[in-house]
């Protein structure tokens, strides 16, 4: 260890140069960081739901809808129609918008006295006068194809639906800009659909990083200053942690790994966790007595490098469990880059800090008054624990087991709308969509078969009827609607034609119509049924998916084959994998850490004791989630393993100190000293991290807020587990041992 320390101090010029160059390099790449909040991209590309969604997106030119809601006192007023026409034309010219459907360009198939009119509901090149528009309104509201699909029943709301292919976020932004720049009088516009929601999340993520991160830093600095009363303690950790965050995010940008709602938390975690390594080194430096600062820096580093390394190692093990335990790409990325970030924080702490300390002149020895005060409090706490050890472990066990019951109440839910607060415009918009049109999120059913065959079309028709019976599914649409309308116009009633030839004749009439390309492929061997569902994902969505799956299973045969996808299905896969990944990550983390402990302590009982704070923390964490109805989602799923990773640091510190003190003292005395000194350090750390993370309460994203609160709870409970419960349990086991030996 001495050699490493000497090397670092002796080669400081080169090391500082390398660090500076790397920092500039990563800072340069930092500008290129991309943000991705698209839930469907979080699943692996090989996921069947994602695969089918991609296929539909590619073949049918886009699988997501950006919807602009137009509200006025009557959408058939001439000025509103003109505005819709203007927007429709503008949207059509946006790169990435493949189709626009609105009142002024929707295909209309009319049965007229002299025959069949395939045209537009409203001729955009020749907008009729007000009188005619009101006639069209009556006609349109009578037709199922428009009512509640494109126009609300009270004709106060209508939609402009843009089908999007390509960069959803960019296209949605352009749509928003065009709409806001248009001079729309007496018309309100709202933006619905996933692309807009994704953008809203993106903007919030950026805002979070810009505003919250400095705050987290500030809070941590403040607490450190209050604890140690020295500026050096405050600035040095900030340098090492700040640089490690910069390197990590810079590396992500360099590797083109996007920031997600999860990875966006990495800098905050580094702030909270990484600062501890720096503090250890500084504290040790303060304890050293040598006059020569260079030598002091070397000595302190060589003594402290092992415990700091162990603390970093166990935390890394906690976070690497995500890499192996998760099916979700972004959670794997979170694991990889948090681990890397901690490695960076460790390396920077053991280089920059001793180098700076070794060059500092005449540092005043820190009085550490505040810390002395804390030590006294902890000493009293220690006495109290020793006196009431039975109460402590019984109460601890009751709390732990009580909260375990809460874990059974945990719900998993991946509801995109959940990201937004109740009063956010996205939530309000979604309400409008659900009230008037059933929802904004499409589900897609792909049918493969000969779509010129009446029997296949009848099967599609049956599927429509089945979807209509499902609660929460609205307005199935497919080529069927047009075929039936045209068959009716040809005088044979609103039904599927009875021969292949008739169907072919009708297809011929529709050929080249833009609308058709969204519904069937060129050689008529496959087609799409699209229906709308609410944006939320809940039990109802689960039920819908199950029923559709069962239906498909019962229907598929040699003649035709249905497949099913959509955001709801992607959410469901996300949900299932969340639960699975949480369990697997946790198990991997705990097993890995237990093995670590065995190596460190060479004792089975000590290793089991080391898990006490972790189990206590986990029980309270998941119990709280269950009782408070906080769902297990993309953000909270990480908490379990973070709890394990951070909690083990406390265990290691405490048990290390305890075994060291045991060599000279009886168990009681050893415990008291451990609680007094290591307990104080743990308390500082708990409050630093806890209050640092509580800053996340001010986030705009609900999952991030919950994450902040729950992490605070996790820190507090693992801290209590290590400083209060663990000593009581140690005493209890000692008692049992002595009783057995007697």
């Amino acid at each position: 260890m001495k050699r490493i320390a000497s090397f670092i101090v002796n080669k400081q010029a080169i090391i500082l140069f390398v660090i500076t160059v790397l920092s500039f390099l990563f800072a340069f790449f930092l500008r290129k960081i991309v943000i991705n909040s698209d839930l469907s991209s979080y699943l692996p590309k090989t996921d069947p739901a994602v695969k089918l969604l991609d296929y539909i997106g590619e073949k049918y030119r886009g699988n997501s809808l950006a919807i602009v809601i137009i509200k006025s006192d009557d959408v058939f007023k001439l000025e509103t129609i003109k505005a819709i026409d203007y927007l429709t034309r503008q949207f059509r010219q946006i790169d990435g918008v493949t189709y626009v459907t609105s009142l002024t360009n929707i295909l209309d198939i009319k049965k007229t006295e002299e025959g069949l009119e395939i045209g537009k509901l409203i001729d955009e090149d020749n907008i009729p006068n007000q009188e005619v528009l009101y006639k069209i309104k009556e006609y349109a509201l009578r037709k199922e194809i428009y009512r509640n699909k494109l126009i609300s029943e009270d004709s106060k709301t209508t939609l402009i639906i843009c089908r999007i292919d390509g960069d959803k976020s960019k296209v949605a932004k352009t749509i928003e800009r065009v709409t806001k720049n248009a001079d729309l009088q007496n018309i309100k516009t709202y933006f619905a659909g996933l692309p807009f929601q994704l953008n809203a999340v993106n903007d919030m993520i950026i805002k979070d990083i810009k505003i919250l991160l400095p705050f987290v830093a500030l809070v941590i600095l403040l607490i450190l200053y209050l604890s140690f009363g020295s500026l050096l303690h405050v600035v040095l950790p900030l340098i090492s942690v700040g640089l490690s965050a910069l390197w990590t995010i810079g590396l992500m940008a360099l590797l083109k790994i996007p920031l997600t709602i999860i990875t966006n938390i990495i800098p905050a975690i580094l702030m909270a966790v990484g600062s501890a390594y720096a503090i250890h080194i500084i504290c040790k430096f303060m304890e050293e007595k040598d006059e020569n600062v260079q030598i002091r820096a070397k000595n302190s580093l060589s003594k402290v490098i092992i415990p700091v390394f162990l603390a970093a190692l166990t935390t890394i093990i906690g976070f690497t469990s995500f890499i192996f335990g998760s099916y979700l790409i972004m959670i794997q990325q979170f694991g990889v880059f948090t681990s890397l970030g901690i490695i960076f924080a460790f390396l920077l702490s053991i280089t920059i800090i001793p180098i700076i300390l070794g060059n500092s002149k005449n540092l005043k020895l820190n009085q550490r008054q505040n810390l002395n005060f804390l030590n006294r409090i902890m000493e009293h706490t220690g006495y109290w624990i020793l006196r009431h050890k039975d109460i402590v472990w019984i109460v601890g066990a009751v709390i732990g087991i009580g909260f375990l019951f809460g874990t059974s109440l945990i719900k998993t839910k991946v509801d995109f709308l959940d990201y937004f607060k109740e009063k956010s415009s996205i939530r309000i918009t979604e309400k409008i969509m659900e009230e008037s049109f059933g929802g904004s999120v499409p589900i897609q059913i792909l049918i493969k078969g000969d779509l010129q065959d009446p029997e296949v079309l009848l099967a599609m028709k049956d599927f429509h009827n089945f979807l209509d019976t499902l609660k929460g599914v609205y307005h199935p649409q497919s080529i069927i609607d047009l075929i039936e309308e045209m068959n009716d116009a040809m005088g044979e009633g609103k039904k599927i034609p009875d021969t292949k030839e008739k169907i072919n004749n009708l297809y011929f009439l529709l050929e080249g119509e833009e609308t058709i390309e969204q519904l069937i492929n060129d050689d008529k061997t496959e087609g799409i049924i699209q229906a709308m569902t609410a944006g939320a994902y809940n039990e109802e969505s689960e039920l819908i998916i199950k029923k559709i799956r069962d239906y498909i299973k019962s229907k598929n045969n040699g003649l035709y084959n249905f497949e099913f996808t959509g955001s709801a299905v992607v959410y469901q896969h996300l949900n299932q994998s969340l639960l699975k990944s949480q369990l697997i990550s946790l198990i991997i983390a705990i097993v890995a850490i237990f093995i670590c402990l065995l190596f460190l302590t060479h004792s089975l009982s000590a290793s089991l004791l080391g898990l006490v704070p972790i189990f206590f923390g986990l029980s309270i964490l998941f119990g709280t989630m269950g009782f408070l109805k906080i769902p297990l989602d993309v953000a909270t799923v990480l908490l379990g393993s973070i709890c394990v990773g951070i909690g083990i640091d406390y265990s290691i510190h405490f048990l290390n100190r305890y075994s060291y003190e045991r060599k000279q003292n009886n168990p009681e005395k050893a415990l008291l000293t451990s609680i007094k000194y290591t307990g104080s350090a743990i308390v500082v750390n708990v409050f630093t991290v806890m209050l640092g993370f509580l800053v996340l309460i001010f986030s705009n994203l609900v999952p991030v807020i919950r994450f902040g609160i729950l992490l605070g709870i996790t820190m507090l409970s693992t801290g209590l587990g290590a400083t209060v419960l663990l000593p009581a349990v140690i005493l209890k086991t000692k008692e049992n041992k002595t009783r057995r030996t007697k």
Binding site: R89, T112, D123, D125, L509, G512
Partner: protein, 249 residues
């Protein structure tokens, strides 16, 4: 001061000169467009077998064969001969945008309103507007004329009152016989959205008749090739060819 007067006077002289040049150009442009219309002056009637290949961006080809009869600039009958599953489908276009369609599977004729001119003609990249046999000068006004030695390039914009899906059309006109061999169609954003070339013409009874067309849809990457065979002109097609009854036969 003198310098200023000099500069302003030079400026005014230049301005006047450009004005005259512009006026001359548009006069010329109008002249060229008139000539084009004369050359295109459709024969009294025309019939032809049209072989159509519709090729999408992936290179998939769909073949069509239709028999077309045309009289004047507003009567047209089209009968589909191939593919087999569409054989017998027919269209009849009459003045004032009246279009009838016959569907053999239903054995019925129905009127369809194709007031939407940018609808595609039988699934090709040609819209009804592209196929209208109307004089250019009725619908378009020239904005400028360029001359590159081989072609006149006419830049056309829709005349007030003429509704078109195109905001501008560039017409490349052969200088020797005033035949427009290439048209480029632009949208309001100034992007070229379609390009039509007449690859081959034939002189029949003194008319220059286009024989091979190529229409490219720039945005979708699709293209349509159309070849006219068995072209007959001025055979005195009777009006009763252009009736619903005949359509249904």
């Amino acid at each position: 001061m003198k310098k200023y007067i000099k500069i302003t006077s030079i400026f005014f002289v230049l301005l006047a000169a450009t004005q005259t040049i512009a006026a001359e150009e548009s006069l010329n442009a109008n002249g060229v467009l008139k000539k084009v219309d004369e050359v295109l002056m459709a024969p009294k009637d025309l019939s032809a077998l049209m072989k159509i290949n519709i090729i999408n961006k992936n290179g998939d080809v769909k073949n069509r064969e239709v028999q077309m009869y045309q009289k004047g600039d507003n009567k047209r009958l089209v009968k589909v001969l191939a593919p087999a599953d569409q054989k017998g489908i027919g269209f009849l276009s009459l003045p004032d945008d009246v279009i009838y369609v016959y569907l053999p599977a239903y054995k019925k004729t129905r009127r369809i309103a194709a007031h939407v001119k940018n609808q595609k003609f039988v699934g090709t990249d040609f819209t009804y507007e592209d196929l209208e046999a109307k004089k250019y000068s009725e619908k378009w006004q020239p904005e400028g004329l360029k001359n590159d030695g081989v072609f006149y390039l006419l830049e056309l914009s829709p005349k007030p009152g003429h509704i078109s899906e195109y905001a501008r059309v560039n017409l490349y006109v052969r200088k020797d016989d005033y035949f427009p061999v290439k048209s480029e169609f632009f949208n309001k954003k100034g992007e070229m959205i379609k390009k039509m070339e007449i690859l081959k013409t034939e002189i029949i009874k003194g008319y220059i008749i286009p024989k091979n067309y190529l229409m490219q849809d720039i945005r979708s990457g699709n293209r349509t090739e159309m070849v006219m065979e068995e072209i007959k002109v001025d055979t005195g097609l009777k009006d009763d060819i252009f009736t619903e009854r005949n359509l249904a036969q």
